[in-house]
């Protein structure tokens, strides 16, 4: 009897619990609207929105390379399955044409679609929730005045139960806190502006912060280095692998122009980021640099000393002469490959961004893992279409995985003080087979849309 009562009680609890979860998880539909006329938006608001869309790098996911801007359909591989980006053009049937501004604001703030469905966090609402109402209004004006495109992405390929969107309510309960950015009164205006851009629309942490097994960013390791499209996104905190210490000025230069003489050229997915940032005013870039420099913190005296010493050494030119007689075990073959294949560019003294970087300065060669070095050597840096860009030939068809291992072993030993990478052969094999998918882009990165931010279709 007692046990029966217990069961009834437990049953009631479960019913209440499940009902509660449903109420928590359930979001109402927001009534559809007739797609607004272009004239209903203020031109300056649209232009402001264009800049914000560039900060958000919306085009990166919502435009399929070679396809129409913002029409979605890009394949986004995740550890959980494949997601296809949605059409965010103002097409009434297949895009967001029937979304009111309130529906758009809710999607950005809470990660909920117009009809009330929870959105997958591949759409980084964990960052976009920070965006102010005013900025969302401008973004809405920009997106709603793009060319409507009729296009429906393929259905997502996610296993049960992840294909049930209600599950996302649980994910949100665990990992998502909504709310616009609140300024830190202890910091100045520039820092706060930077934090707003970096952690909000810029969603830097989406790549540069490591994720847990459920795909959420580890809050305790904010900007401590993550992963993006098969590339390591380097740490932006104190654990940065850059041999020359970053500071506010060098970060500003790098973000402003996409390269820095002491650090090299932005490549991989970062090329697209710096390309997009080109639209921002200097003051915003400076604010981002200020904030990130504060996250990196003051380097240790030793790190600072090493950095200064390296910059002095770099001034006296490359270290070729030391290489040619190096016939040590790991050095022999790797050194010969380096001299024949790499040194012609990497030691010819031509300045950045078109000369090869002195590899003593390379964050990639100094990185904790070999992935970016493997990507660079195998696939190089393709030329951008129709504009000047840094390039590097790829060596995937020349080097076997063992030869690549010899080369990287040599680079690591000769140009850094770091320990050898031990998994190059296997990583390279997995990279080639596509088991580890890598996206390869030119250094300006803007190959997805017809123009920088996809603002005008040709």
């Amino acid at each position: 009897m007692k046990f029966g009562r217990f069961l009834t009680g437990l049953g009631a609890l479960i019913v209440v619990g499940v009902a509660g979860a449903f109420v928590y998880a359930w979001k109402p539909e927001i009534a559809p609207i007739k797609p607004p006329e272009r004239a209903s938006f203020d031109q300056t608001l649209i232009e402001h929105g264009a800049k914000l869309a560039a900060v958000g790098n919306c085009t990166a996911c919502h435009t399929n390379p070679g396809g129409k801007s913002f029409a979605g359909g890009l394949t986004i591989p995740t550890p959980f399955g494949t997601i296809y980006s949605s059409n965010i053009t103002p097409d009434a049937e297949t895009g967001i044409g029937t979304w009111s501004e309130a529906a758009f604001q809710r999607a950005m703030r809470d990660g909920v679609g117009r009809k009330g469905v929870h959105l997958y966090p591949a759409f980084p609402y964990d960052h976009f929730t920070n965006v102010s109402d005013d900025d969302n209004r401008a973004l809405y004006a920009f997106l709603m005045t793009r060319q409507p495109v009729t296009a429906t992405p393929p259905p997502n390929e996610l296993p049960f139960p992840l294909n049930v969107r209600l599950v996302l309510a649980g994910w949100k309960m665990l990992f998502f806190r909504d709310g616009a950015y609140q300024a830190d009164a202890g910091q100045n205006e520039e820092w706060n502006r930077g934090a707003y851009l970096v952690n909000g629309l810029g969603h830097c942490g989406a790549c540069h912060t490591p994720r847990n097994s459920l795909g959420a960013e580890k809050a305790s390791l904010h900007l401590a280095g993550g992963e993006a499209e098969g590339w390591s996104a380097f740490a932006l905190d104190g654990s940065s692998s850059a041999p020359v210490v970053w500071d506010k000025d060098s970060l500003y230069t790098y973000l402003r122009q996409g390269w820095h003489p002491d650090h090299g050229v932005a490549n991989g997915p970062m090329g697209e980021v710096t390309g997009n940032l080109g639209l921002l005013p200097d003051s915003d870039i400076r604010a981002m640099a200020t904030y990130i420099a504060s996250i990196m913190g003051e380097p240790s005296a030793e790190r600072r000393a090493n950095s200064d010493k390296l910059l002095e050494e770099i001034k006296s030119g490359p270290i070729t002469s030391a290489i040619s007689n190096d016939q040590s075990a790991s050095g022999g073959k790797g050194a010969a490959i380096y001299q024949a294949a790499c040194a012609v560019c990497h030691e010819n003294g031509r300045p950045q961004p078109f000369g090869g970087l002195d590899l003593r300065l390379s964050s990639t060669v100094n990185a904790p893992d070999a992935q970016n070095a493997i990507n660079m050597v195998l696939y190089g840096l393709p030329a951008a279409s129709g504009r000047t860009s840094a390039i590097m030939p790829g060596f995937a068809d020349v080097l076997t995985n063992n030869q690549l291992n010899d080369l990287l072993g040599y680079l690591r030993q000769h140009f850094t003080d770091q320990a050898a990478w031990t998994d190059v052969v296997q990583r390279a094999a997995d990279t080639r087979t596509g088991k580890y998918h890598v996206s390869v882009r030119p250094s300006d990165g803007i190959e997805r849309g017809p123009s920088n931010i996809g603002a005008e279709d040709q």
């Binding site: 012609v344 560019c345 020349v398």
Partner: protein
């Protein structure tokens, strides 16, 4: 060390770090591949290794032991040109001609692995190879013709590419 070039094995006496291009031209007197930039940026030095197009100016021979190297000389002879060569002759697809051997080898690598490559694929694949004379349209036309000739050659081996 031994190098397999166009089906024959050559004993080469050169520093293992020597770029393949120099060995081809200076030691083996195979002068099709050209020195352009020496940086892997122009494609004039392109040859095939194991069926893939590579920049011979940046490839030390120590990487090539036991691998099959092919140059334009391996595609056919003056008397019996291979389909790629025949197509370039028929389309008169050369101005100064300096880039042509590289163009041919990259196109050959593409069409060997993908006989039905689309026009767009041909164009994208040839991107790393530069032509300074502006002969691009003829070069593309020649490669498209080669695409057809190679299929015919594959059906009738006697008139086609010399087996090397």
């Amino acid at each position: 060390m031994k190098l397999n070039v166009n089906g024959s094995t050559h004993e080469v006496d050169a520093d293992p770090a020597t770029p393949l291009l120099y060995v081809l031209r200076n030691d083996l007197e195979l002068n099709a591949a050209k020195f352009g930039c020496g940086l892997g940026q122009c494609g004039a030095c392109t040859v095939m290794v194991d069926g893939k197009a590579i920049f011979s100016c940046l490839t030390p021979i120590l990487l090539l032991e036991g691998r099959e190297i092919k140059t334009v000389e391996g595609l056919g002879t003056i008397d019996s040109p291979g389909p790629m060569q025949q197509a370039f002759i028929e389309e008169q697809a050369a101005q100064c001609g300096y880039c042509i051997p590289g163009m041919m080898m990259r196109a050959q690598a593409l069409l060997q692995s993908k006989p039905d490559a689309s026009d767009a694929e041909i164009q994208v694949t040839l991107e790393p190879n530069l032509c300074r004379c502006g002969t691009h349209m003829r070069i593309l036309k020649a490669v498209k013709r080669a695409r057809e000739l190679m299929k015919t050659a594959a059906m009738a081996p006697a008139s086609g590419e010399r087996k090397v």
